[in-house]
Chain length 430, copies 2
């Protein structure tokens, strides 16, 4: 791990959606204090190639990494895959969770993600007992701190195994018993994490899905969660979820959350694959974020969600690596664009600028890492979270920098910078 100098000279950098040449960046205490283009380098500058804001991974389940390359020979569908995933969850304890998260967060950082939203529900023991002192959450926080990646711990409320059903034996460790106990643990967790993580760790909230809570639980969450906290939920990933929700409530998942005032700018809908026109309108009008996880949605056979319609309606788009079958923000962005081309039989569905935003600053926004007073990205006053890309690799040579999201890949990441600390990928075989 290399500690960053306090000044950098970038051959090119993405400033406010445009690539500028010869960009100097001055950094103090991890925060950008000056940044300008068309400069000359100072001899003490750290020289970098093509620099863009750090990629934001707005949806992660760290422990799913264990399934990579192990579930592809079996056919089946999402629900059969879920059984395999539950078997991995059963095996976790604080030590193993810490070790696994350290590995996955390292791979993530080396792939160019500077921040991760960990959608966390393995918070109890296998028997369903709470761990003392938030042991599982502290294991994740310690892993993020040691790796040097920004972590937003999205602690999930997960109380039911399906609408009107108790948790199954394998799901028991995901649950707090009732919604008040989840809210109490959530507030205590937020207090406990204020003093750890070296400034890199914050707490957000999640509702696992409409399958995992009752209508009354939603009322309690709406009342009990501070309004500034980012709130994420899996939404309409599979058609069966929509069918069950509609059968129980006469509403779509988005409609059910909207009924409780939960669709707002602080809300992130993860996946949002099978939406109605009304859902799209509701998410758009609210200015909510939709976190697309293109490699996971392909892997699990979810389908191709209506991302351009959501953007058009006013929603924001971010990305997540979710189950980590792929850890590559650029491959996610390529799929985000290309799957829409397959759906529409048109090219250039999203502008390159939209793709850059989806990969970088919108993830930060979805995780509550930027406040409304300040634009995100590479500018004075923001933490220096960035990645250096090789714009002359076999993949990237000849491409216009603005079009890199569809041609670069994680192997082109030369360095990741989080809060001014620069790390070069060291893993063998990259």
């Amino acid at each position: 791990m290399t500690h960053a100098g306090s000044s950098y000279f970038c051959r090119a950098a993405l400033l406010d959606g445009t690539f500028r040449g010869r960009v100097r960046v001055l950094v103090a205490d991890g925060v950008i204090t000056a940044i300008s283009a068309d400069e000359d380098p100072d001899p003490t500058d750290v020289e970098l190639d093509t620099v863009v804001p750090g990629f934001g991974n707005a949806h992660s389940h760290a422990f799913h990494r264990r399934l990579r390359g192990r579930t592809h020979a079996d056919g089946g569908d999402f629900w059969q895959w879920r059984e395999r995933m539950y078997a991995e969850a059963a095996d976790l304890d604080p030590d193993r969770y810490h070790e696994l998260a350290e590995t996955v967060f390292t791979e993530m950082r080396d792939a160019g993600y500077t921040a991760v939203g960990e959608f966390h529900y393995v918070h109890h023991s296998e028997g369903g007992e709470a761990y003392a002192d938030h042991a599982m959450e502290l294991a994740l926080a310690a892993a993020a701190e040691s790796v040097g990646i920004r972590l937003v711990l999205l602690d999930a409320c997960y109380l039911r195994g399906g609408i009107g059903q108790p948790l199954s034996a394998r799901q028991r460790r995901f649950g707090d018993g009732d919604v008040q106990r989840w809210l109490e643990r959530w507030h205590a967790l937020r207090d406990a994490l204020r003093s750890v993580g070296g400034g890199l760790v914050t707490v957000g909230a999640a509702i696992h899905s409409v399958r995992a809570v009752s209508r009354d639980d939603l009322t309690a969450i709406s009342a009990g969660l501070p309004p500034e906290v980012p709130l994420h939920a899996h939404i309409s990933e599979q058609r069966a979820e929509n069918d069950a929700c509609f059968a129980a409530y006469g509403l779509t998942p988005v409609g059910l959350l909207a009924e409780h005032g939960l669709i707002s700018p602080r809300f992130s809908a993860v996946h949002a694959t099978h939406l109605t026109e009304g859902d799209i309108r509701q998410l758009g009008t609210a200015g909510a974020t939709v976190v697309m996880c293109p490699t996971t949605e392909a892997d699990l056979g979810d389908g191709i969600g209506p991302a351009p319609e959501l953007l058009e309606a006013g929603a924001r788009l971010a990305i997540g690596s979710d189950q980590h079958v792929v850890l590559d923000p650029l491959e996610e962005l390529t799929r985000l664009e290309y799957d829409q081309r397959l759906r529409s039989e048109r090219r250039g569905v999203f502008t390159p600028e939209v793709l850059w935003r989806a990969g970088t600053v919108e993830g930060y926004r979805a995780l509550g890492l930027v406040d409304d007073q300040r634009s995100p990205g590479l500018r004075v006053g923001n933490p220096f979270d960035a990645v250096e890309l090789d714009a002359a690799s076999p993949r990237t040579a000849g491409a216009e920098a603005i079009q890199l999201p569809v041609v670069a890949r994680s192997a082109d990441i030369r360095a990741t910078i989080v809060a001014g600390r620069l790390t070069r990928p060291t893993s063998a075989g990259r």
Copy 2:
């Protein structure tokens, strides 16, 4: 470039569709003379990690590489992209073509492709005159020889700009004037290339598409082309092609070629995106190959072709990188599988064994590089064409070897071996 030793010890190798451990390979004059598993290494062996048959790139247009990362901001569709592509074709001459092909073939080899079928139609000067002495074709052959990649030059018959239309000004350099002149040049080319290319270059044939020839031309091609020569054609990539073909002939493109006896085991249909059930049956019954180009078909908004139905009907599946927006056989295979998951909302559409075959030996078969007497792949009597994969990279660690097609990427290629000559990727920034 490293010259290969005559013996190798592989930690694991894919033999007849199964990974075996501790595999020793003996090679003489580029051909495998002995291969067996569960062996001990000899001190003189070259040690390799995970070894699989070389990837076969059954569809390439080398010069399209110039468009990578340059056409994504414009929206539009396939036909608008084609205008950009024609502008690149206009700029080629034998020297520039050679230089470009050397770069692209190097990237291809470093990405793990050991053989490429170059679907070649820029064979005349801008004014439509033939070059002396097959200058363009010899430029491609020389590039392949110097890079050390197996090349099958699929020289294309391209006589019309659309059904019943002459070539446009920009298409003029693709044409021979009439079908007899194309056949004469094709036979002369085959003779001319027998003595060049260092044993790596052979000649196949192509019909650009049903847009590019008349019904009478197809009769002449069927009569004039030796029956053992591999024959490729773009088939039903875009709906407009199908519509025009049906309007003119009352037949689909597959139906039109079948009418002339051209759908056979030596035939490869490139793309085959928009097929009827009858087309699928015809390609399957004939045992033809379908060359899917998943990253190109996504990039150009072609759509997702019926690959599982084709396989079920008896067709073979191979892959091609086509326009080279991506040069990564493993990413092609991931897309081949994942796009079908998006289409069907099911997982594991193809078995891993089918994916390996599509990536490796079926491409060789489509290019006429294996004869019917011998199974392709890593076995005695076959040329030693193989790649070494890193099975412990951040992408591949933890995966079962057989499932690597959906998790590995070209950055995991450690070495490419063509006819026993081993090359390690040397390009900066891989």
